[in-house]
């Protein structure tokens, strides 16, 4: 399986993401600059964290108009797995690939620490490797991760099991219903504030994030079996 790590001016978790795929997961991966106009050769699209365009105006607001985003939309519509982490999640929200928006953290502080996440749905291409309601440890690092959506959207997210992760116990940023990660309607686009790419080896303090990437690959292999 071949992954693309999209690099915007100001991305800073692109190297971690690349490392997670190449060294921890053992799959093919390439950096793809934001001006790229074709993603056809990639099977999975990863939008890393950081501060694209300096977070000017709003996090993700400017990045979402990059050339590559039209291709990300195309990949999402084609059913390819698209994962946006932190700033990547914010870009997916701004692009309208996921519903809702981010506000400043409730405490107004940038938070950077490990948090407990509860797996709310393990029937997705991103979470099939987890147990249902399992608690995993993955770090967050953000100033604007306070998720918001209107009541109607929230009801839809719940009804369709599109909330994959919630913060376990204490709510670190004020997110609506402790939401940490959601998918689109089709289930192939995941946005999450915590950084699974920083939790792929015990040496880093946790390897709980690796299962997200392993789930993506397992699902992809199962749906791309060569039937000769």
């Amino acid at each position: 399986m071949k992954f693309a790590v999209i690099v915007f001016p100001g991305s800073n978790c692109d190297v971690d993401m690349y490392h997670a795929i190449k060294d921890a997961l053992g799959e093919e991966v390439e950096y793809v600059w934001h001006s790229t106009e074709n993603l056809d050769q990639y099977d999975g699209i990863l939008l890393p964290g950081g501060f694209s365009y300096g977070d000017y105006l709003r996090s993700g607001a400017i990045a979402r108009f990059s050339n590559v985003m039209a291709e990300v939309v195309k990949a999402a519509q084609a059913g390819k797995p698209v994962l946006g982490v932190c700033n990547g999640f914010q870009i997916l929200l701004e692009a309208g690939l996921l519903p809702g928006a981010m506000r400043r953290n409730e405490g107004l502080k940038f938070i950077c620490r490990n948090v407990g996440l509860k797996v709310e749905n393990n029937q997705s291409m991103f979470t099939s490797g987890y147990e249902l309601h399992e608690t995993v440890t993955i770090p967050v690092a953000h100033g604007e991760g306070n998720y918001y959506c209107d009541a109607e959207t929230l009801a839809e997210l719940k009804r369709d099991n599109r909330i994959l992760f919630t913060y376990d116990g204490e709510n670190p940023n004020g997110s609506l219903e402790q939401i940490a990660g959601i998918t689109n309607e089709q289930g192939n686009v995941l946005g999450m504030m915590p950084h699974p790419e920083r939790a792929v080896d015990s040496l880093l303090g946790s390897k709980d994030g690796l299962k997200i990437f392993q789930s993506i690959v397992k699902n992809w292999r199962e749906s791309h079996v060569i039937t000769a």
Binding site: R58, A101, R103, R104, C149
Partner: protein, 84 residues
């Protein structure tokens, strides 16, 4: 030429964590009369004369980029700039 002043704030229904912190700070400075604070953005656009409808243009810019209407609302004033 026109100068357009765009004001963007979080929607009424959305809790404003910055506004809440500023309000608390004002209260601690004994300005207890302050019952609500909303922190927003102010953007000034200078727009050259164009055949396109100015209102239409500004609304488009606000909804596409300048404001995120999921959580923010916007309003704007237009001033004509007289150039010699």
């Amino acid at each position: 030429m026109h100068k357009v002043k765009v004001y963007i704030t979080l929607r009424e229904s959305v809790l404003d964590p910055q506004g809440a912190a500023v309000q608390q700070s004002l209260h601690s400075l004994t300005y207890n009369e302050v019952s609500d604070v909303r922190v927003g953005k102010y953007i000034e656009l200078t727009i050259e004369d164009t055949d396109r409808d100015l209102d239409q243009l500004v609304k488009e810019m606000c909804e596409k980029l300048l404001a995120n209407t999921v959580i923010e609302s916007y309003r704007y004033d237009v001033e004509e700039v007289i150039t010699r």
